[in-house]
């Protein structure tokens, strides 16, 4: 039972709730970047100290931690954002997937015919990320300017 002294819960205006929502999503971004940075530093330090002697179990434990962290952060993010944001993410991922297939298939075919150097997995991955980011930023700009 609520006593007369208990202050009633503050009813936020829509704009205040929007600010709260923006803060929540910004926190998810900060956590994601922070976790990625920590993981990168941990892998770098472990690699430098142990090099090839990193026990296989430790390596697989790190990979498992990375997978769990990625899944948890993505679920948290997708539950926090609205359907327009989810749609933009899906379109950007779709563009990235198409770019990946086209670049990889094109490069491998060209290399098989001696028209290009041996495909570089990291270069293909980097190109995929770049195309995905360009698609995402393009969608966001279109929404902001439109």
């Amino acid at each position: 039972m609520t006593s007369p002294e208990t202050p009633s819960p503050q009813v936020l205006t829509g704009e205040a709730r929007l600010r709260q929502r923006s803060r929540r999503i910004r926190n998810i971004w900060i956590t994601t970047l922070g976790a990625g940075l920590l993981f990168g530093v941990a892998v770098g330090v472990a690699g430098k100290r142990l090099g090839a002697e990193l026990p296989p179990l430790a390596f697989w434990a790190m990979m498992a931690a990375l997978v769990v962290m990625t899944v948890v952060i993505n679920v948290w993010y997708l539950q926090g954002v609205d359907e327009v944001e989810v749609q933009d993410n899906l379109w950007a991922a779709y563009a990235g997937l198409n770019a990946h297939v086209l670049i990889a298939a094109g490069w491998y075919s060209a290399a098989a015919r001696g028209l290009a150097p041996t495909p570089d997995v990291l270069a293909v991955a980097l190109a995929t990320v770049i195309v995905t980011l360009i698609a995402y930023v393009g969608l966001k700009l279109r929404r902001r300017l439109g």
Partner: protein, 65 residues
């Protein structure tokens, strides 16, 4: 899909940000729906109609924008 979001908002003196906070989406989402660049899901459309206190068919209609 046509909608009367801009008009209903104006009647209540709500900004896009105010409506966005009330229905728990971003301001860009409200803008995208208002300008016909995004058709809301059924659940979001119902949430919007509920926020305005109107039946869904008085906020949205199925015609092309």
């Amino acid at each position: 899909m046509n909608n009367r979001l801009r008009l209903l908002r104006a009647e209540r003196g709500w900004s896009q940000a105010e409506l966005a906070g009330r229905i728990d989406v971003s301001r860009q989402a409200v803008n995208a729906i208002e300008t016909g660049k995004h058709d809301p899901s059924l659940s979001l459309a119902f949430r919007i109609a509920r926020e305005f206190g109107l039946p869904i068919e008085q906020v949205f209609d199925g015609g092309e924008a």
